[in-house]
């Protein structure tokens, strides 16, 4: 039963990811006084792309076609780390946060290579910018997770979640507040959302992630798009699991899981709404202000780590 729930969690994350994306763009459209596309459009997009031909540049090698698969599979594995409905996950106990961060890095590394394999200047440009952002995002990402790990005395994601569930809801700890703030900033950079990167841009010169996938088409593009939707959802679920896990099922029964999924749905909806609001009210940062943005995240993460030691 536990195993089934764990598998169910991963499947939920993977299958609901495009919906999350569709809802975000729908809410954004409503805020901007547009009708907006249906929330099911990302599914239609992925299906359409899977039926299309895969166009490969003549100069590209096998890396070009390998990259989307690696990106997709690593994202799937990461999805198996995050508890969603109860305090456990498929790999949540054995896998720790270092593995999680570096699995994401593995996908990104291959995406960068795939982008450079196209042989155009845009791919290289996107890869170069992604290298900058990811280099600077990795340190605050690890440090913020580390501070929670130190506070919880465990490195496994599930362990941290269960520790937080045991804490009092109203006793806001400095560590959590700081680590949460740092992780939100990192998550925005990591998933390429607005102040850092604009996922809907059509202007090559302002792209980061989009410039990298410019050469991709058909099933490869479908894999990349789906993977980035999963990544967004997984990062949201990670934030919820680490910082507001209350409401997760403590026992594996149909009723508890039902309540837990309802609560989780509400939490994700709140995050989605917040993200849409932020994306509508903030302008994209200039490229060279991104380090400043991530510098703020680093400062918060460092402070979080120091606080864990001070608060003991």
């Amino acid at each position: 039963m536990t195993l089934m729930t764990n598998v169910l969690q991963v499947l939920l994350l993977i299958l609901l990811a495009p919906l999350v994306r569709g809802v975000i763009s729908r809410i954004k459209a409503r805020i901007q006084n547009r009708r907006g596309a249906s929330v099911w459009r990302p599914y239609a997009d992925v299906l359409k792309l899977f039926r299309k031909q895969d166009l490969v540049p003549a100069s590209a090698s096998f890396v070009f076609r390998l990259a989307p698969m690696v990106v997709f599979t690593t994202t799937l594995v990461v999805a198996a780390f995050v508890p969603l409905l109860h305090g456990l996950a498929l790999l949540g106990v054995t896998g720790d946060f270092v593995l999680l961060v570096y699995l994401l890095a593995l996908g990104r590394f291959f995406l960068m290579l795939g982008a450079m394999d196209g042989g155009s200047s845009f791919g290289g440009m996107g890869a170069s910018r992604e290298a900058l952002v990811s280099t600077l995002a990795e340190a605050p990402f690890l440090l913020a997770l580390m501070s929670v790990a130190i506070a919880a005395h465990t490195a496994s994601i599930a362990g941290m979640v269960q520790w937080t569930m045991g804490q009092n809801f109203f006793q806001f700890s400095a560590v959590h507040a700081l680590a949460f703030a740092a992780l939100v900033l990192v998550a925005i950079a990591e998933t390429g959302r607005i102040p850092v990167d604009n996922p809907t841009t059509h202007l090559e010169l302002t792209m980061i992630h989009e410039a990298m996938v410019l050469e991709y088409s058909g099933p490869s593009l479908a894999l990349i798009e789906w993977a980035s939707a999963i990544k967004l959802t997984v990062v949201m679920a990670l934030l919820i699991a680490l910082f507001v896990p209350w409401g997760m099922a403590s026992s594996v029964s149909a009723l508890a899981l039902g309540v837990a999924s309802l609560v989780m749905l509400l939490k994700i909806a709140a995050l989605v709404l917040a993200l849409a609001l932020v994306e509508c009210s903030v302008a994209k940062l200039r490229m060279y202000l991104v380090p400043d943005f991530l510098g703020v995240a680093s400062a918060l993460a460092i402070l979080a780590v120091v606080f864990t030691a001070l608060m003991r």
């Binding site: 109203f170 400095a174 703020v296 918060l300 001070l310």
Partner: protein, 220 residues
């Protein structure tokens, strides 16, 4: 004690954390209006603390002070500052001499410094360590804001943050100053802000900018 009171007590115990967050956010903010809003939030947190403390000590004076702080620091002063920003039609950025990530690093350093600074006195003075550290940190970052921001208005905001720190220190160590002094301080601040607003307008009219770093004529 009901559920609500337990929750309130717990939240109060960790409200120092929220003060730290406002400090860091003010350091990171790039617009004057954001800083003003954050100052308002900060004062609101302090108001909540005053109410909680006076409830614990069953003092009616405390409620008066809370009402005073609420009306002046949370509503009146931010409103006046907003109006000044609107009327000035000057550029809205804080034009800091340090980048926002550097500012956050410095503010973080100041918070840690204040933690180490109050550590020996917690036992003597009583009160919560986080709260006392928050008070010192507010004073320090207020000073830092005044030093590093070039706009005259930001000096006012820095001063207000500093004053919040002093107020909080008094609250945590001696459960607030006598009512008369509190009233005096609060009105003093209000007048100060009005005066500073006037000065800001005069500076703008005379020099066509608000950049304090360019006001050097005074030196002999």
């Amino acid at each position: 004690m009901g559920l609500f009171e337990t929750a309130a007590a717990k939240a109060l115990a960790s409200s120092g954390v929220f003060l730290f967050m406002t400090v860091l956010l003010i350091a990171a903010a790039k617009r004057i209006s954001t800083c003003i809003a954050l100052f308002s939030v900060q004062s609101l947190i302090i108001t909540a603390q005053i109410i909680a403390v006076s409830r614990m000590h069953h003092s009616t004076e405390g409620f008066v002070i809370a009402g005073l702080v609420l009306s002046v620091k949370v509503i009146a002063i931010p409103y006046v500052l907003y109006r000044i920003v609107e009327e000035l039609k000057a550029p809205r950025d804080v034009s800091s001499s340090t980048s926002s990530s550097q500012s956050v690093f410095i503010a973080a350093g100041l918070i840690l410094l204040s933690f180490f600074a109050v550590r020996p006195y917690v036992g003597v003075l009583g009160g919560d360590q986080a709260m006392l550290a928050a008070a010192v940190a507010l004073v320090l970052t207020g000073g830092f804001l005044m030093v590093s921001r070039k706009k005259a208005l930001m000096q006012v905001v820095g001063l207000l943050v500093l004053d919040n720190g002093i107020f909080l220190a008094a609250l945590t160590t001696t459960f607030g100053m006598p009512l008369v002094i509190e009233i005096g301080i609060v009105f003093d601040l209000l007048m100060g802000v009005f005066l500073m607003g006037l000065f800001v307008f005069r500076i703008r009219d005379t020099f066509d900018h608000l950049d304090v770093s360019k006001l050097r004529r005074l030196r002999g």
